[in-house]
């Protein structure tokens, strides 16, 4: 009887742990990072709050600079955007490693399909397509084989 009870509890436990795997796969959500802790940046010092800076200033232990709330906001926004972009590129890099041999868009990182001349997401031209005549060229070509436009090393006009 005890053994049966243990088996039942074990099954219930495993059901509790594994049940999330049986649900319909939810779309992957972007991680929500905690906010940047510094809101007051003066002379390269990241004070926690304006109050902290003001007290340091009142005691003569802060620089001559003034906090710029707009700069702090822009920095926070830029930092968040940069981090999101880095994460995005990392994801795309990983997916590109899976789809080896495919070319990635330099604008947004989306892989081009074999016949694509422009990125379907951001409209960036394919790096092996001439920007003047649209002719595709091979990696390492120095001039477009159709119109003669000079191509930089790496093959992107």
């Amino acid at each position: 009887m005890i053994a049966l009870g243990i088996v039942v509890i074990l099954l219930l436990t495993m059901a509790y742990v594994l049940s999330p795997l049986l649900k319909m796969p939810a779309p992957a959500t972007a991680p929500v990072p905690p906010p940047l802790p510094s809101s007051c940046i003066v002379d390269g010092v990241y004070y926690g709050t304006h109050v902290e800076w003001a007290i340091e200033r009142a005691l003569g232990r802060a620089g001559e600079g003034e906090p710029d709330p707009e700069a702090a906001r822009q920095r926070a926004a830029l930092s968040t955007e940069l981090e999101q972009r880095v994460q995005q590129v990392r994801r795309q890099y990983r997916s590109a490693r899976v789809q080896k041999g495919r070319v990635l868009c330099v604008g947004c990182g989306k892989p081009y399909a074999a016949s694509d001349r422009y990125c379907s997401r951001c409209g960036e031209p394919h790096p092996r397509v001439c920007r003047r005549c649209g002719e595709r060229h091979r990696p390492g070509d120095c001039y477009c084989t159709a119109c003669g436009l000079p191509l930089p090393a790496g093959g992107r006009p």
Binding site: L18, L21, P25, P31, P34, S38, D43, V51, L59, G60
Partner: protein
């Protein structure tokens, strides 16, 4: 019941491994379903380990002596609080408690819905679950708490007489909680490095858990010191014992780390250094566990030899290698945004503090590990004397005190150099005046330094707190009490005052006066300002022991001030008597009285009496330090400036 305990530990191990793997896969692949499953698995680990702890407690309360662990650490004659305490008095129980704390903290930190979904928490859970799995593996293989004896026993061996003390109620669990709490900052660091996440966003989270570990370990050390102070034969509150030292080293490194994280948050510097200290701190925790559990180092506080000690050492090596490898791998993204421009800045002083604290920890660790190292190299263990530690720690401690005096006057970058010079000059003058006054008073330069520096530091920090509170009052229109209460949180000002009070208490030990005498009833002797008279000597029979209680009347001049009753227990199960001191305490000094022997006819008693100046300040300082740490952790809302910004330019008046 033992079968259920064993099965629950094995199941907890399986769930722990699953949680580690699932959390990692979920974090890397961004799979919410797998992450949710990992979180549930961790909750099951906590439930199962809680079940194991409850079962072991029940076995102790029911005196199930056929269980090996209960037989070895309990007996029928044991008082009931010590029957519960016996849970963590041995290797197996204390390891189980450690695993339970890790499971609990892992759930608290990473399983809340509000933060779930962040990659770093998932990575931290994977690391914590892996470490928790390692502890559970030890509990399932080498240190099994639910093993049955081959024969039935009517009574157990009992708890060691020295452990039957109120100190046993608090000191071990609080220290083990500190050990467990340090695994969180490590887990977050590894997660940040492995998942290449930005460090600055997570610095406050890591710092919060670091404070929990630092506070718990500090409280554990303090409770241990208090216990050793009243226990005769343990060499006073600090005896530089290997187990004590091994726990002190990570606490010192974590103190350095707390200072480093302040620089990291304010200047975006020392990212790699902060992560490295985090890794070293956790490695030292595992090393401390190795020292206490391996038998490689002789100590009165060690558990005794076991194979788990070397497994912990191997785990420590692995954590260090993994951490250092990841730091080197991510070195390019861990570059500092700025550098220390001058030593006369807050970051410059904090750099020196870091170097001194890490140097102190390295010196203590070298002394602790010197016997096993010399035994390995030469075949003979060489134990370093107490003087080694005293000669090394004094100069480093004095340098730290000097920095603590100057710290309130320093600002970030070059601000203090460009600002008024008078605060630093006033502090240096204050220290010089205090030192000179003491030198003239006591005539001993080392005493003048040891008392003058902390006293100057306390004045310096209190003055800084008052100036900050005043500035805050002006800027935010707060009343004095609110302004002061909010100010004590800032920069751990209260913690520094408390640390300096503790140093004063330690310095008081240099003026200690003691005497050992043998007394018969109604005989008396003098020690310092006190006259002590043996009024009575009683003997009472208790279960398993005979207790001798000396009643000593203490008077100062003609005034009777206290009656002290030191105890001397002779246990039937142990040849070693246990003596507990009686204390008369005030802010000026402690009178410490202990019985060291009783004549065979029971008419005479040998006592050791000591007058320890300023000893109470050590404990008050410790308590204040914890309050300060808790105040720093206490969340406060965002405040708004009450005056217009141009008014700030002139500074507070």
């Amino acid at each position: 019941m033992t079968d259920i305990g064993t099965v629950s530990l094995w199941l907890a191990l399986v769930f722990s491994i699953y949680a580690a793997v699932a959390a990692w896969l979920g974090a890397v692949g961004r799979r919410p379903a797998i992450l949710s499953s990992a979180r549930r698995s961790q909750q099951m680990v906590l439930a199962l380990v809680t079940l194991s702890v409850s079962l072991l407690l029940t076995l102790f309360l029911r005196y199930e002596f056929q269980v090996g662990y209960v037989f070895a650490h309990s007996s029928v004659s044991l008082a009931w609080p010590y029957t519960l305490v016996a849970l963590w008095s041995g290797q197996e129980g204390s390891l189980l408690l450690w695993a339970w704390f890790v499971a609990l903290l892992a759930c608290v930190a990473t399983c809340r819905r509000a933060v779930w979904g962040r990659l770093v928490e998932a990575g931290a859970l994977a690391t914590l679950a892996a470490f928790q799995g390692f502890l559970l593996l030890l509990l399932c293989t080498s240190l099994r708490p639910f093993v049955l004896l081959p024969a039935w026993a009517s009574d157990g061996l009992g708890l060691h007489p020295l452990l039957q003390s109120p100190g046993m109620l608090w000191h071990p669990p609080v220290t083990i909680l500190g050990y467990a709490a340090f695994s969180l900052p490590y887990a977050y660091s590894i997660s940040l490095l492995a998942l290449q996440q930005p460090q600055e966003r997570w610095a406050p989270v890591i710092r919060r858990w670091l404070f929990v570990g630092w506070g718990s370990l500090g409280l554990g050390l303090l409770l241990g010191a208090q216990w050793a102070y009243t226990e005769v034969g343990w060499g006073g509150y600090w005896s530089w014992d290997p187990v004590e030292n091994a726990t002190l080293a990570p606490w010192l490194v974590s103190t350095a780390l707390l200072h480093a994280t302040a620089v990291q948050q304010r200047r975006h510097m020392w990212r790699a250094w902060g992560l490295f200290l985090n890794v070293v701190c956790f490695t030292l925790i595992l090393l401390a566990a190795f020292v206490a559990r391996s038998g490689a180092v002789r100590s009165v506080h060690a558990y005794g030899a076991s194979s788990a000690g070397f497994a912990l050492l191997a785990a420590g090596g692995l954590t260090l290698l993994a951490g250092v490898y990841l730091i080197l791998r991510r070195a390019s993204s861990l570059r500092s945004e700025a550098m220390v421009e001058t030593v006369a800045s807050r970051e410059g002083l904090l750099l020196l503090v870091n170097l001194l604290l890490v140097g102190l920890a390295a010196a203590v660790l070298l002394g602790t590990l010197f016997p096993p190292i010399t035994q390995m190299l030469t075949g003979t263990p060489v134990v370093l004397a107490r003087s080694y530690y005293e000669h090394l720690t004094r100069p480093l401690g004095i340098a730290l005190l000097c920095l603590m005096i100057l710290a309130p006057a320093a600002g970030w970058r070059r601000a203090a150099l460009n600002g008024p010079i008078w605060p630093a000059a006033a502090l240096a003058g204050l220290a010089a005046v205090m030192g000179t006054a003491l030198l003239l008073r006591v005539g001993d330069i080392s005493l003048a330094i040891l008392f003058g520096l902390p006293a100057a530091g306390i004045v310096s920090h209190l003055a800084d707190l008052i100036r900050r509170a005043h500035a805050r009052r002006h800027l935010l229109s707060e009343n004095w009490i609110a302004a002061f209460m909010r100010t004590v949180r800032h920069q751990g000002g209260l913690v520094h005052v408390a640390a300096l009070l503790m140093v004063l208490g330690m310095a008081g030990g240099m003026l200690k006066v003691e005497a050992s005498v043998t007394l018969q009833r109604h005989q008396s002797f003098s020690l310092g300002p006190y006259q002590l008279r043996l009024a009575d000597l009683a003997t009472e029979a208790l279960p398993g022991r005979e207790r001798h209680i000396a009643t000593v009347d203490v008077s100062r001049g003609t005034r009777h001030i206290a009656t002290l009753k030191p105890e001397y227990d002779v246990h039937t199960a142990s040849t070693q008597p246990v003596a507990r001191a009686a204390l008369h305490r005030n802010l000026r000094e402690d009178l410490h009285l202990a019985v060291t022997g009783v004549s065979s006819d029971g008419n005479a008693v040998s006592v050791r009496a000591a007058v320890n100046p300023l000893m109470l300040w050590l404990w008050l300082g410790g308590a204040l330090m914890l309050l300060g740490a808790m105040a720093t952790l206490w969340p406060v809302g965002e405040q708004r400036l009450a005056v217009a910004k141009p008014a700030l330019k002139g500074g507070a008046t």
